[in-house]
């Protein structure tokens, strides 16, 4: 049931296998702030999940982070976002997390 409901999103995601355009980037920024924010904090300074600010992630590879975002961290509360995000979008978010300070 849960999986079925996600199917349309998955197809929509697959159709957009390209770096996110400006509109989608806005949506992704919003997703990071609000939906990731529910566990990592609005300012990404941590909550149930750890801090994911540029300082906290300074030593990390964006490719690895994109994988964490897509597949989650099994055994923890970090969910995989593959049903909702394309690989390019996850990579864009990884770069965004590493580069952009929160206000």
């Amino acid at each position: 049931m849960a999986r079925l409901a996600l199917m349309p999103m998955l197809l929509a995601g697959a159709a957009m296998a390209a770096p996110p355009d400006a509109t989608r980037q806005d949506e992704l920024r919003h997703l990071v702030r609000q939906d990731c924010g529910s566990c990592h904090g609005l300012r990404r300074t941590g909550g149930l999940g750890r801090p994911i600010t540029p300082e906290a992630l300074a030593e990390r590879e964006p490719g690895d982070l994109a994988e964490v975002i897509l597949d989650g961290l099994p055994g923890t509360a970090m969910p995989g976002w593959r049903p909702l995000l394309t690989e390019d979008e996850a990579r864009w978010i990884a770069d965004y997390l590493m580069k952009t300070e929160t206000e």
């Binding site: 049931m1 609000q34 300012r43």
Partner: protein, 383 residues
């Protein structure tokens, strides 16, 4: 349009005069998480009266009221504990008491404010008048689901260590008695105390099942139940932790949001066994009984957070699916259930609906609203 102009005008009339004589029983506060502010609202007028600013990071913020319904204590994500006066609409006191906190509670005598912290993990208890630290109870773990139990007690669960702690301030506020219950289960994600103060129910994220603590027994009795409740597959993504606060006991039955599944579970409160399941439109976050308990209203995690579903308590059927708008984060019922206020975060408004006809009765502009809290909460246990 006219309404919007009026609302905008009203917001500029601050601060209020304390000598404008009025009651607070129909007032409320709406958390504006992006701007660190609170909107003071009047339920009878269905309007905003003004704004209180300067409360820091209010993502995931919650608040409790003083027994006289004049002051609110606001728990911010940034560890801030702020006391505000809803009549004068001012910050009375503010302390940043920890690095990262998740919620709080007020003791049944109104004297103590307890804050549950993630960082450093544990509970800190403050004097309700002065916000001075009264007791510090480190727990070495993130804490969740704090509630006020009768008799100057607080009860809380620990995420990392799977314990429940009961902090009893009845003998000496500064040297509380501690009861520590171990082996509650892996990663409690939230908990609820029933309004009679008897049952503390802990939801587990790290394993299946739920745990009930019966506070009427001495020592408190720990019971595991619903051994199949939980994530079906370990890798099932859960995009937002469900909230248990507000799972109300309706007609001897609990309505519980399933973790990760698109389902509501109905559990007989006496036998603690499942009696039914309702298929829902998404992963449930809040499942709140309307105050008359005749219906349970459910909102959802992303990507279904534009919807609400209304479920019949007796038949367990979905009666209605409403689509208020993007980011329906919170629902608050008028104390006697006549209307419900919904925060529609991404549309910067609060929508007011009739709980029977489901019609929209009004709308209030708010900046990225999340929690809505009416003052009648001052007189309810376990919030």
């Amino acid at each position: 349009m006219l309404k919007a102009v009026l609302a905008a005008l009203m917001l500029t009339i601050t601060p209020a005069q304390a000598d404008e004589l009025r009651g607070t029983g129909d007032l409320g506060l709406i958390v504006e998480r992006e701007t660190g502010s609170l909107l003071v609202v009047d339920r009878s007028e269905r309007a905003a009266l003004g704004r209180i600013e300067g409360l820091g990071d209010l993502s995931h913020a919650s608040l409790v009221y003083s027994p006289d319904e004049r002051f609110a204590y606001v728990f911010g994500r940034d560890g801030g504990l702020t006391k505000v006066d809803i009549l004068t609409r001012q910050v009375v006191r503010r302390v940043v008491q920890a690095g990262n906190s998740i919620g709080g509670a007020i003791s049944d005598d109104g004297q103590l404010i307890a804050v549950a912290n993630y960082e450093p993990g544990g509970v800190r208890v403050f004097d309700a008048e002065t916000l001075e630290l009264v007791a510090d109870v480190p727990m070495g773990s993130k804490t969740v689901g704090i509630a006020d139990a009768p008799g100057s007690r607080f009860i809380v669960a620990t995420w990392d260590t799977g314990e429940v702690w009961i902090i009893d301030h009845s003998h000496s506020p500064a040297q509380p008695g501690i009861t520590r219950l171990k082996g509650i289960g892996a990663n409690p994600y939230d908990a609820l105390l029933t309004s009679d103060g008897r049952r503390y129910i802990v939801g587990l994220f790290g394993e299946k099942g739920l745990t009930q603590i019966d506070l009427w027994q001495d020592p408190p009795e720990v019971t595991r139940f619903l051994p199949d409740y939980g994530r079906d597959q370990p890798d099932m993504p859960v995009y937002k932790m469900p909230h248990l606060q507000g799972w109300t006991l309706a007609d001897g039955v609990f309505a519980l949001p399933a973790v990760g599944l698109h389902q509501l579970l109905w559990v007989d409160a006496d036998s603690l066994t499942e009696i039914a399941r309702t298929e829902l439109a998404g992963q449930p976050v809040f499942a709140l009984a309307r105050p008359d308990r005749r219906e349970v209203w459910v909102n959802f995690a992303p990507p279904d957070n534009d919807k609400l579903q209304v479920v019949n308590t007796l038949t367990h059927e979905v009666l209605d699916t409403l689509t208020p708008g993007k980011g329906v984060l919170h629902m608050e019922f008028a104390p006697r259930g006549r209307e419900v206020w919904l925060s529609v975060r991404d549309e910067n408004r609060v929508e007011i609906r009739d709980t029977r006809s489901r019609e929209v009765l009004g709308e209030i502009e708010a900046r990225a609203p999340s929690g809505i809290f009416f003052t009648d909460r001052a007189h309810r246990t376990g919030l």
